[in-house]
Point group: C2
Chain length 335, copies 2
């Protein structure tokens, strides 16, 4: 592989001159520039960014740690991140934890070792240690989608509590009183916020909260299926189901189908997170849709701003709104 010295020799200049041409830094005579560029082309020279970064202490690379790349919601977030980073000349290293703290820790170390300039983290849990670790390495971090109690860090997330409140109100307005909540893991803020919004709507409507109708599970199809089976065994059966994310909703739909129940005639269903338009022929689910792409974009822009600005004096929390989209699965008002 050609190095900057090979190019310099061929062009009859010093290595530093080649460096100036590559980076457009400092003054270079047009003629020497042309000679250098010719030498670069002749040799097929490609700069070694490892060496560059080692010297300049900047990698122009961000790390994105998320919890489930197989969920279209997260791929959409990732696209927002990638686009914003790319616009600013940054690359992104994508890491998938599958909600495992061990994997998260592993990737955190990888990213720090790779000297990324900043990290976008969807925390697998509410633990504060991962944030402390990143910051202890003088690396900037923005937390995505989920809150971490007592952490000193920027956050970009959606209003889960508000979305859940609105979806629950919708069900209440249709006459439902026994609404089962199929949420995500305890300790994950979006799952807790979902429950909080649900409780608030019920309380406000003067309905009692039956705590046994509140399930904490995982953000997966299997968990959605299991929680639904469990809820359908209750008597009286819940008349409506609230799924904490799109995968839980799909699991719920399967469980309902297997139980011979129609949606929405026998059981209404609402959910967080839409499925991307590309993946569905006839959108059917009533959902609280989160601006996934926008969330990724804004988080990245905030992170990039932090990088150029230096240590922040005060941390930001950006909360994006959710949009309620009413479709067939929530059904008509009960008679």
């Amino acid at each position: 592989m050609a190095t900057i010295r090979d190019v310099a020799k061929r062009a009859g200049v010093a290595p530093i001159t080649v460096s100036r041409v590559i980076n457009n830094s400092g003054y270079v005579n047009e003629q020497t520039r042309a000679r250098v560029e010719a030498a670069i082309a002749d040799l097929g020279y490609v700069p070694n960014v490892l060496a560059r970064s080692l010297r300049s202490r900047r990698t122009h690379t961000l790390g994105l740690i998320l919890t489930d790349i197989s969920n279209p919601f997260w791929t959409t977030v990732a696209r927002g991140v990638e686009d914003a980073a790319s616009d600013a000349g940054f690359n992104v290293i994508l890491c998938n934890t599958d909600e495992s703290e061990a994997e998260q820790d592993k990737y955190l170390h990888v990213l720090v070792q790779k000297q990324v300039d900043g990290v976008l983290l969807v925390p697998a849990s509410g633990a504060i240690a991962p944030i402390k670790f990143i910051q202890s390495q003088n690396t900037s971090v923005v937390v995505l989608d989920r809150r971490i109690p007592d952490s000193q860090a920027d956050v970009v997330r959606c209003n889960s509590e508000g979305g859940a409140y609105q979806l629950t109100r919708l069900l209440l307005s249709l006459g439902h009183r026994r609404i089962a909540m199929l949420s995500g893991p305890r300790g994950v803020s979006t799952a807790e916020d979902c429950v909080a919004g649900y409780r608030r709507a019920l309380a406000e409507a003067g309905a009692d909260v039956d705590a046994t109708l509140i399930c904490y599970g995982e953000f997966s199809l299997e968990s959605g299926y299991d929680m639904t089976v469990q809820m359908l065994a209750r008597t009286p059966r819940p008349s409506a189901l609230f799924a904490g994310n799109n995968f839980i909703a799909i699991g719920a739909l399967r469980a309902l189908r297997d139980a011979g129940l129609r949606v929405p005639e026998d059981t209404a269903l609402v959910s967080f997170d839409d499925l991307p338009a590309d993946l569905v022929v006839d959108p059917f689910l009533t959902v609280a849709a989160q601006p996934a792409y926008e969330m990724g974009r804004q988080a990245t822009e905030l992170l990039l701003a932090r990088l150029s600005a230096g240590a922040p004096t005060t941390y930001q929390e950006i909360v994006l709104p959710t949009a309620i989209i009413v479709r067939g699965s929530s059904g008509q008002a009960l008679e």
Copy 2:
């Protein structure tokens, strides 16, 4: 940030000893090892892999360039790559080209600059230059999913021609004679192979090939929609549609719905690429399913083998089988 020298000083040893502890290379006395490890913990030392890679000329990083991360087919491939790489202690940098050659070129440069040890490439076109470029930089490459004519490189792909042949035979056996082929871009091998398999099945059955029923488009919902609209305008209308991938199929389903046609009663539909079980409540499409995860895994294992083995004497082409899954959308035999 602490460096290896800081750790060495604190532990009262030479930097190289710290290096040996970190990398488990060479012999280190248990006691000194313990002292070094204590110093590492005290200082919160994290090795700088940039420096390490600059010196050792190995980054333990692979690049994966694919064409559409929003398609679940490719996220599944990516998981296979990631898992295989992770098992071998390698990281993956994921790059998304959206089928654009310009983006592909950009990412190719980024990866080479980052000194990745190898590249997995889903080529945006049949052009040979990108392969030449990677190889000119002494970097290994494995081509994924698509063939590149005349290129000297390893390939891991699926048997598109065979899958298309079988799907077409299925439609023929059900009595269909006017089958519209909605394929991907001209020049992309999977799209061409689809058409080839379709032609072979028709020829073998003694049916004429109506070339005007063969469309080349893009692997997108919009293109699937447009091609379908165009085909439905033909008289007589095709009795069956063959979609070149899952997004084309979804576009076709929408166009059929908007035209008031039922599937399969009015028009049968078959497709390449299944949608992941996680995303669909009731699988309905008859498809030629490709082993996406396995393709990613095998390609990665081949690439890793190349890395440790040195320059290959002869290139491999691994062709994985497709599986025909018959569901509702292909319908019953025509009377």
